[in-house]
Point group: C2
Chain length 245, copies 2
């Protein structure tokens, strides 16, 4: 076990930060780390918006219903971005590009590119003693977030990440058993591992230091998936030129 793997295995999402802001140097180190991630066919199909404007942060905290979107050391928004390419295409070339830009393949590529970059940013930040939390809830109102950040066509906000000096140290949340996630050569059913996990997680929820409750992972997931969530993401994504066919 080395220091890097220790950092990775020690991850927990941090939702309370000390008031210190990240230095310019920390922000640059985190962004450069993000950029060094692998990228599909060299497309680098993402961009990052650092939000420091307090009015914009207020509105993002409201959209996400998370006060730590306002109160943190720095807020990054990771976007899918083909504008790097489309902005340079003559009209006739652009027209020919649409079949690719609008298919599921290239929606996937941009989401994956952005996420690989983001996870490098997360690990870099954590290695500096900072805490992080991903903010998927910017998609609670994806079109408003898009508007707030003035994103052009072929750029959409995917998720945020808050970074800062941790002001709490929550327990680590258990993960699915390795055998439920990792299979050799072909996919295996894993009901037994899921049952075992539900026992473990109900103990975790009953005994953790904050927000104790009676629950299992399966119950939590079934509740979550039966409630329609962010149904407007589909339309917004298409409106901006992604995932249309």
């Amino acid at each position: 076990m080395n220091q890097t793997i220790e950092t990775i295995l020690n991850h927990r999402s941090i939702r309370k930060f000390k008031p210190e802001k990240l230095s310019e140097e920390q922000v640059q180190t985190i962004v450069r780390s993000a950029q060094q991630a692998s990228t599909s066919s060299y497309m680098m199909a993402y961009s990052i918006i650092g939000v420091t404007d307090e009015e914009v942060k207020d509105e993002l905290a409201e959209i996400t219903m998370q006060s730590y979107v306002k109160n943190n050391g720095h807020l990054f928004i990771f976007c899918a971005d083909y504008h790097h390419v489309t902005s340079q295409a003559p009209q006739s070339t652009y027209d020919k590009m649409l079949a690719n830009l609008e298919n599921s393949e290239h929606f996937l590529v941009a989401a994956i590119d952005a996420a690989l970059a983001a996870q490098n940013a997360a690990i870099a930040a954590e290695s500096l003693g900072l805490g992080i939390c991903y903010i998927g809830s910017i998609r609670n109102n994806i079109s408003r977030v898009d508007e707030l950040l003035h994103l052009p066509d072929h750029v959409i906000p995917l998720f945020g990440m808050v970074v800062g000096v941790p002001a709490h140290q929550p327990e680590q949340k258990p993960r699915l058993p390795l055998k439920a996630v990792y299979h050799e050569n072909s996919y295996k059913e894993h009901q037994q591992e899921l049952n075992q996990f539900n026992e473990e997680i109900s103990h975790y929820y009953a005994s953790r230091s904050e927000n104790t409750r009676t629950d299992t992972w399966t119950d939590q997931m079934l509740r979550r998936f039966t409630k329609p969530m962010r149904m407007d993401v589909t339309d917004h994504v298409r409106k901006k030129g992604f995932n249309k066919k």
Copy 2:
């Protein structure tokens, strides 16, 4: 600068490996590192297949047209996975879940969850002195790869990753200038930075130690995007229950 950030900034994709296979312990460390990544609303919407069967590796090398998909220390395939949840839902609950499972939001969530996990795996492997390369080209024939791995409904292969002891040390590929990727508060046009990058990259292609050529990033991207790529991904993804609406 610490060791973790050094590892991150030192990344280059490795495509030639020594014949050593990863140990069981190395595979487990890499998978556990993957699992510790953040996950949207605790969904853990991914799974990983480790491919060791030589016949399956032969066919994957053919599909991806990459010999290193066969010749490596270990091959991981990262999948989007809602089967962890759907496999536990009674029929009436399952029917109610479809609106969520089939929207773009949940296609995004699974792709992002899988990519965050994968990048943790990549960094963990690199911190152990191993090299890695992502394999997006498993999507050259996504339905055949899906079949080879016996993936059930609501599981699709997204990308592979080969890991092993490096047998070469290629140059690092330049990244877009920081100002083309990172914007403060709102998106800025960045034609000047892209021009500057094209100069840099044409020098890189002309002077690197292998496969020299005359090219710019923009030309490469425009060529790539005008050629229809993996147009069957859209249909396959829908057939498996993702991204239908």
